[in-house]
Amino acid sequence: MEGRHDSSPMQAFDKDVLEMTCEDVYDISYVIGRDLLKVNTGSRECSDLQFKIVRVLEMFETMVNKYNLSLEELRMELENMKREMERVVAEGSSGDVNTTVGPNKLVVDLKDPNRPRFTMQELKEVLQERNKLKAQLLLAQEELQLYKSGVLGSEQKMVEVNLETLPQSEAAPSSVVEENKEKSTIQKLFSFRQK
């Protein structure tokens, strides 16, 4: 005899359906059976009704049983999932020493000033531009050298001049204008160098 019998069988009628157990169905069966006996005339109709009710209550018993079993199964699964999740989270927040990193991975300290920052593409573009500029510079230097050695420009000699003194020229009068022009070009060149 279980302690539950302390409560009246009638209480089963007031219970929330989803909280019922098989024992409640049995209490209900007893009460209904007892009441039926009171009104039983002994007729066949009464008896048929009685057994129809038996059948319905048996179906109810089966359903309550199944419902409670499913509920229990789901609860247990939820418990397992929760525990699993807690375990995974706990592992994630533990120290670096214990951290396992997948293959082909790099761990970067975000505070390191020498950390890698640029992509390969960005680097390629920068290098290409540098190479282009370097080539242009070499060309410009060559051109300068040629101007200096008199290969380029007019027949007039190119004179090395001081920054302070104006260039002295022995240029022919016909090419004075050009000389002047050249002077200005030279000036420009030297002013360039000055800079």
Binding site: D6, Y30, G42, R44, V54, R55, T62
Partner: protein, 418 residues
């Protein structure tokens, strides 16, 4: 000739067409259950060994298991198959014995099979063909009587089995009830007034069958409420198993006897229980028990009579014990107590406060003298182990066997309703 033949045939065809279809007649059952001989052990296993005491069918229809078993018996008798019948009857008896032996601590199982064995016994009598058992039968029930075999010998065996089950059942209930009696009936102080003594009850229920239900955390002493709850649970279980009310009454009477005798014995041995206030408390508790009996409609069980001695002890504790008139009244009122018991109580009587006086030795002698003629045993204690003899008087059942169907959850699909 041909024409006449044709006409006659045509008439017949017409007649068949116009003839109204006969109304569907509900199948008339004979009130028997047919099973194949090789399925006998399966039948017994399903309907006895593995049958749960709590199920929809068995709770809705009192004694269902017994009636279904009897319907099988009827069929074997109907077939005039003596071997089948004998095998079945022996199988039933062995199986019931086995169940109650394997589950001898289970209150539910014992209650269920006490009830059903009694029902089965009644069926065997009611349909035996003996006139003394047929007085309340309907015509149909008379028709259903056994035709070929006399099972009175088996009835005797079943009767003995029922007595066995009864005693086992009582023992289980007593084991549960016993720890509650002294704390609940005698020690617990529910009446007003400061208790002079700390209640020292048992701390735990001893019987492992019972779960710790109700209010008890296991650390509070028992009160009379616990006793009533225990009686309630017993009664509910018996009622739900469809036990004949008269048998329920016998059970309750035996339990009340235990309560009374245990209490009296305790009082006789403990001076601290022999006070006026204790007398009041006991009277109060007895009235609760009486009210409970009334509530459950069990007055006819004669359970209250078993509390007679305890009731008189309570009265004795409360009453004045000084004058000659008092002595005379004691002699008159305490008819169920022996002189030895009365004297012991008078000598043990403990006043609560300084105003009250102890019972004087001269008073005790006075009472003793008055009781000289009374023949009481020299034994001080009551025999709390005493068991009233249980009887199983015939009870006719109104159940019509031919209307009884087999609930599907009993898994008796291999049996056919005839």
């Amino acid at each position: 000739m041909k024409d006449r033949l044709i006409k006659r045939l045509q008439d017949q065809i017409k007649a068949i067409h116009t003839h109204k279809a006969a109304p569907a007649v509900p199948k008339e059952y004979l009130g028997m259950l047919e099973y194949k001989k090789e399925n006998e052990s399966r039948l017994i296993r399903t309907l006895i060994l593995e049958l749960k005491p709590r199920g929809v069918g068995v709770l809705m229809i009192p004694g269902l298991a017994a009636h279904l078993l009897f319907m099988c018996v009827r069929h074997a008798d109907y077939l005039n198959d003596g071997n089948k019948l004998k095998s079945l009857m022996n199988g039933i008896i062995s199986a019931i014995k086995e169940v109650i032996t394997n589950q001898q601590e289970s209150f539910e199982v014992l209650s269920f099979w006490l009830s059903n064995t009694y029902h089965f016994l009644n069926c065997l009598k009611q349909y035996s063909g003996d006139e003394e058992f047929m007085k309340h039968n309907t015509l149909r029930q008379n028709k259903n009587c056994l035709r070929n075999f006399d099972l009175s010998e088996h009835r005797q065996i079943l009767s003995d089995l029922a007595i066995n089950i009864y005693h086992q059942f009582i023992s289980v209930m007593e084991d549960a009830l016993f720890p509650m009696i002294i704390p609940g009936m005698l020690e617990h102080e529910s009446l007003q007034g400061i208790s002079s003594m700390k209640p020292t009850g048992f701390r735990k229920r001893s019987n492992s069958v019972y779960e710790d239900g109700g209010d008890h955390s296991g650390s509070e002493p028992f009160s009379v409420t616990d006793i009533l709850q225990q009686l309630d649970a017993s009664h509910t279980s018996m009622a739900q198993h469809g036990m004949e009310p008269q048998l329920q009454g016998q059970v309750i009477r035996q339990l009340f006897f235990l309560i009374g005798a245990t209490s009296v014995n305790s009082i006789l041995l403990r001076k601290d229980l022999c006070s006026c206030r204790k007398g009041m408390q006991i009277r109060c508790n007895i009235s609760y028990l009486e009210e409970w009996l009334r509530e459950k409609d069990l007055q006819s069980s004669c359970a209250m009579e078993t509390l007679g001695p305890l009731s008189q002890v309570a009265w004795l504790l409360q009453v004045n014990k000084t004058t000659d008139e008092d002595a005379a009244e004691i002699k008159q009122r305490c008819s169920e107590l022996s002189p030895v018991q009365i004297v012991k109580i008078l000598n043990s009587y403990t006043p609560i406060d300084d105003f009250e006086k102890r019972v004087t030795p001269s008073f005790v002698r006075k009472v003793q003298a008055l009781l000289q003629e009374r023949e009481g045993s020299s034994q001080l204690m009551m025999d709390s182990q005493y068991r009233f003899q249980v009887t199983f008087p015939f009870c006719s059942s109104p159940q019509a066997l031919e209307l009884l169907q087999v609930p599907s959850n009993l898994r008796l699909g291999f049996v056919t309703r005839i």
